[in-house]
Symmetry: C2
Subunit: 221 residues, 2 copies
Amino acid sequence: MSTSAKMALLEEYVLVARALSAPARLMLLEQLAQQESGVEALAEKTELTIANCSQHLQQLRRAALVTSRRDGKAMIYRLTDAKTLELMDLLRVVAERNLAQVDRILRDLWNGEDAPVPVSRAELAERLAEGSVIVLDVRPADEYAAAHIPNALNTTLSDLDQLLPALATDVDIVAYCRGPYCIYAHQAVAALRKQGFQAHHLEGGLPEWRAEGRDVQIGVT
Amino acid sequence: MSTSAKMALLEEYVLVARALSAPARLMLLEQLAQQESGVEALAEKTELTIANCSQHLQQLRRAALVTSRRDGKAMIYRLTDAKTLELMDLLRVVAERNLAQVDRILRDLWNGEDAPVPVSRAELAERLAEGSVIVLDVRPADEYAAAHIPNALNTTLSDLDQLLPALATDVDIVAYCRGPYCIYAHQAVAALRKQGFQAHHLEGGLPEWRAEGRDVQIGVT
DNA sequence: CTATTATTCAAGTGATTGATTGAATGATAG
DNA sequence: CTATCATTCAATCAATCACTTGAATAATAG
């Protein structure tokens, strides 16, 4: 495929992606997923001005995500077909996965400060064996009960403060949570560091730990 | 759900969609779909400067479409998981459907000129019955052979010129093709109008015609 | 035909994005 | 420790997008 033809194709993809990259248009799509509607009805539901709403709808139409037909004086818009809905759903799935696990807070948490160095699983296993580390499981209690790294202490972020007095300040703390995109461990490390503790987070989470065939403990300690 | 929470969610979706709405980032994703790579390798493949490439990669990472790990001096990027690939595929499917059928040419074709009024299927059926119209099927011959509107003439865009002398200039011509987003009929109408013919396009295409239970003719005439 | 209503177009403003440049960071080799 | 290399950050400019306002365009009612 020639470069220019490829670029033309990419531009086409971009057109669709762009159409999805404004909150107002996503609201419109959400409304249209319920039922086809006229411009005025959509403008009311989304609290946009009619002119603005009309413009957004035209962008959606240009990307062929919606189609329109005239009904007397009114212009009725609807989703083009099931693919539009599929695309919306997948976008939602990917975005919500991020919201639950990654969370942009993580990206801002260490903004400008000295970023913590993740501790590798091999290193943690070694230091666990020699007992030179405190492991903190920052997941909900039920997940902790299901399985956790041996001798790990369980706490939630909100209960962390109560646990602090019991922790030695001269021993390294390694926190972990659900996985590489889970934010809890990072937040715990940030809180601990603020209190003067030596805290790091584990690379990956418990699933990664188990995937390597490392020991876990079941039930409450 | 509160309005602000909903807005926050929508912003999250937008973040993902935005990440997909630059050609450079789609190229990067395409490369990463082949194999994980470092920044320099990606910059070479995509012909971006290294700094620019790095910035795009970070936007992709912010949307959690890719993840990175350090390998010595190099930072290795890869697609986060299969969902990223799914999203890319679906975007491609939707966009290419548009490319094949809608095509932006349609959106530019009548730019500024007097837009043609589509002829409704009911109107065409009526005028077909009284014989006051020429119907033009602007689809590939095999699709025409499979089924077409009774008495429709089949032509391709490139063969249209040869057909012109045979057409009466004082009879309305109605062109149709595959569907509401197919461009052939529009292009044919544009060409015919330039030659002074009274040309319109049919609302929708043959699938819509058949869906209403209207007569079709099978095979060549 | 004219008035009315729904929608769209067009132009201007403020904010955001993408690309470029040069400097700063992080990890390793000597 | 210092030098080096890969990558990232920061600041800048040009281009694009979203929203507002006011005018223009379709379809219908009278």
